[in-house]
């Protein structure tokens, strides 16, 4: 836990260093008063100082009795939730939200819920279908359907 605290705070320090470079490109003060870089510059400075304080605090904190940041058994469920999200987002152009969502539901229910297959199939078809009607038909929100679904709906 302590290590994660340090790592996140160090990351925030690095983030402020990058942002301060962006801020310094702008004018901090102009003839009429504060310029475009005024607000960002002082904010970055504040974020940086706070982050440094947290780094120092975390290094000085006792390490004894520290628990791991992510409990050993929690890695699997976390990755099962996270990695498919990344994969589906990366392929969103092809899958779209509806088919992507269907795949995500199926995978998650199978790997985590360990439901029976008829149930999995039923739910993962029902939910995207219901969402399709609610958003596309009822609220007229056009969501990315992906090349796959567009071919299916409107032909090649």
């Amino acid at each position: 836990m302590k290590k994660a605290e340090t790592v996140v705070a160090v990351f925030l320090v690095l983030f402020s260093l990058i942002m301060v470079r962006e801020a310094l490109r702008l004018s901090i003060w102009s003839s009429i008063g504060p310029g475009a870089g005024f607000f960002p510059f002082w904010l970055v400075l504040g974020v940086g100082i706070c982050a440094v304080v947290i780094v120092v605090q975390s290094l000085r904190a006792p390490r004894a009795g520290d628990e791991p940041f992510i409990p050993p058994g929690a890695w699997r469920p976390l990755l099962v939730a996270f990695l498919p999200m990344v994969a589906i987002l990366a392929m969103l152009r092809y899958l779209g939200i509806y088919i992507g969502g269907m795949l995500y539901l199926t995978g998650y229910m199978w790997l985590v819920g360990r439901h029976r297959w008829p149930y999995i199939v039923f739910v993962s078809i029902l939910i995207p279908l219901a969402l399709f009607f609610i958003f596309e038909k009822w609220f007229f929100l056009l969501l990315p359907k992906g090349i796959l679904l567009e071919r299916l709906l409107y032909g090649p």
Binding site: V44, C50, Y104
Partner: protein, 508 residues
């Protein structure tokens, strides 16, 4: 501004709220909100952010009625899971678990639920009446605010988030500044030049607040729940007519607690920035301090349910007061609603009272209507709402992920936003685990542009001198109040050391 005109406006507002379409919108909002409140992993702030894109096709009045009703529903619903399952459905119902769940365990779930809903309703109703009479004069007063006053009010919001949320003050300050910093990405509002975007065109329009909120609160919460492995087991509960009578007979005994909790809750809610969550914790602590039997708290004391619930709902109402009169959110949830104002084409601020009579008074009228309908709904429908928790988490989690993606995409129709949402989700998970408070980040992100504009205009007015915040009486009052709230954690530590005992930690 006479009393009579307030009554006139209120009657008009009730009329607006009672039109069939707005009434239906309120009922849908309450049902959705209660469901959102019941479901762990789907909070009110996130729920409202998800629904925001759906309001694009509604009129502003119906849209605000929908979102406000979701908020009331979520406050009512949060108590159900707290009491029956010992899982707070919402951060503001954490304090309700302390005594609510023990009561349910002792075979009195009906009493705990009735006490929670009734006190929630009383807190809300008194707060709405206060709201009705405070809002118009406050809006009129705020018309005289210049940039320095506005900046000072926003300072008050940030200070109260740091002072009242508890936890590490350094982390609260960092999150406030980070929120403000992220809001500077995009265009400079004064000179119009692109800035802080690393030369990327896709960042030029700035990072949308709603997407970050959905990531931080929605996905972050999902990751946390996934990690903990949600197991819902609890007490079955329904409210019988006898429970109702038995609980209501007890209420006169707790009149002092109710009054204290309502005033405290409303005041904390009105304070810009903080909302129902700190109010419920503080009210619980206060009730325990005033009680003749503090040792009974935590073991199933009815007063321990009444105090946080009354304050939470009063604060929820209070939080909308600065939102509607000043354009400054009174809580993170109000911040999300405020983000909606811009989308619906409204300019938040005191002028709304004169230019958007239907919107403002329709909202106020709907508060009366929705809370009466809401309390009847939850009292009669507990088993229905509790049954929502029988949806397996392995279905719910992916569903929330899909809904979050749809919500985030619909804001700008940009796939890049989905990646930003995913990144914010990971950040939200890390921040939550390391106890960085999320509320200051969200409020700061919404207020960023306004705060910068107010600060820079003030400094231009004063030719660069910061003294402008000290030699204008209203601004000075806000600055002093901010300083007090900001130093509150330090003061609290000092007092408790002098009294030789450690005070209750107030968690966020």
């Amino acid at each position: 501004m006479t009393l009579l005109s307030v009554f006139n406006d209120l009657l008009y507002g009730l009329g607006v709220a009672m039109t069939p379409s707005n009434l239906i919108v309120a009922i849908i909002g309450l049902l959705l909100g209660t469901a959102i409140g019941v479901l762990p992993g789907l909070g009110g702030t996130n729920g409202i952010a998800l629904l925001l894109p759906l309001t694009f096709s509604l009129t502003p009045t119906s849209a605000i009625i929908l979102l406000a009703s979701v908020y009331w529903g979520a406050i009512f619903g949060g108590a159900i899971t707290s009491i029956l399952f010992n899982i707070p459905g919402e951060p503001w119902s954490v304090a309700t678990t302390f005594d609510g769940h023990p009561l349910a365990r002792q075979g009195k779930p009906g009493i705990a639920l009735t006490a929670a809903f009734t006190s929630s309703f009383i807190g809300a109703f008194v707060a709405i009446i206060l709201f009705t009479f405070f809002a118009p004069p406050l809006a009129e007063w705020a018309l005289r605010f210049g940039p320095p006053e506005y900046f000072a009010v926003m300072l008050l919001a940030f200070a109260s988030l740091t002072g009242l949320e508890g936890g590490s003050p350094v982390k609260s300050v960092l999150m406030t500044l980070l929120g403000l910093l992220l809001s500077t990405i995009g265009f400079d509002i004064v000179s119009g030049q692109p800035r802080m975007n690393f030369g990327l065109v896709s960042l030029q329009s700035g990072i949308n607040f709603i997407i970050i909120a959905i990531g931080l609160f929605g996905l972050g919460e999902i990751f946390l729940t996934v990690e903990e492995g949600l197991r819902i087991q609890g007490v079955r509960g329904r409210i019988s007519f006898r429970d109702l009578l038995e609980t209501w007979k007890m209420f006169p005994r707790y009149i002092a607690t109710l009054v204290r909790a309502t005033i405290l809750g409303f005041w904390i809610g009105v304070l810009p920035g903080t909302g129902a969550t700190p109010a419920s914790f503080m009210s619980y602590g206060l009730a325990k301090q005033f009680s003749k039997h503090p040792e009974r708290f935590g073991k199933g004391e009815v007063e321990g349910v009444i105090a946080p619930e009354t304050a939470a709902h009063a604060a929820g109402i209070g939080a909308l007061l600065p939102m509607i009169t000043l354009g400054i959110p009174g809580s993170p949830t109000a911040a999300v609603m405020l983000a909606g104002f811009f989308i619906w084409g409204l300019n938040p601020g005191p002028l709304l009272f004169t230019t958007q009579r239907e919107f403002v008074w329709g909202l106020i009228g709907s508060m009366y209507v929705a809370n009466v309908v809401g309390v009847i709904m939850v009292l009669t429908m507990v088993p229905v709402f509790a049954a929502i928790n029988r949806i397996p988490f392995s279905v719910l989690a992916p569903l929330i992920v899909i809904l979050s993606s749809i919500g985030a995409f619909a804001v700008n129709n940009q796939v890049l936003d989905l990646w930003i949402m995913l990144g914010s989700g990971v950040a939200g998970y890390l921040f939550k685990k390391l106890k960085y408070p999320l509320a200051p980040l969200v409020v700061a992100l919404v207020l960023g542009d306004l705060a910068e504009q107010a600060l820079r205009q003030s400094l231009i007015m004063s030719q660069g001198s910061g003294a402008i915040f000290f030699n204008r009486p209203i601004a000075l009052t806000f600055v002093l109040a901010s300083a007090f709230l900001f130093l509150l954690p330090a003061l609290r530590g000092f007092w408790s050391r002098r009294r030789g005992r450690v005070s209750e930690p107030v968690e966020a």
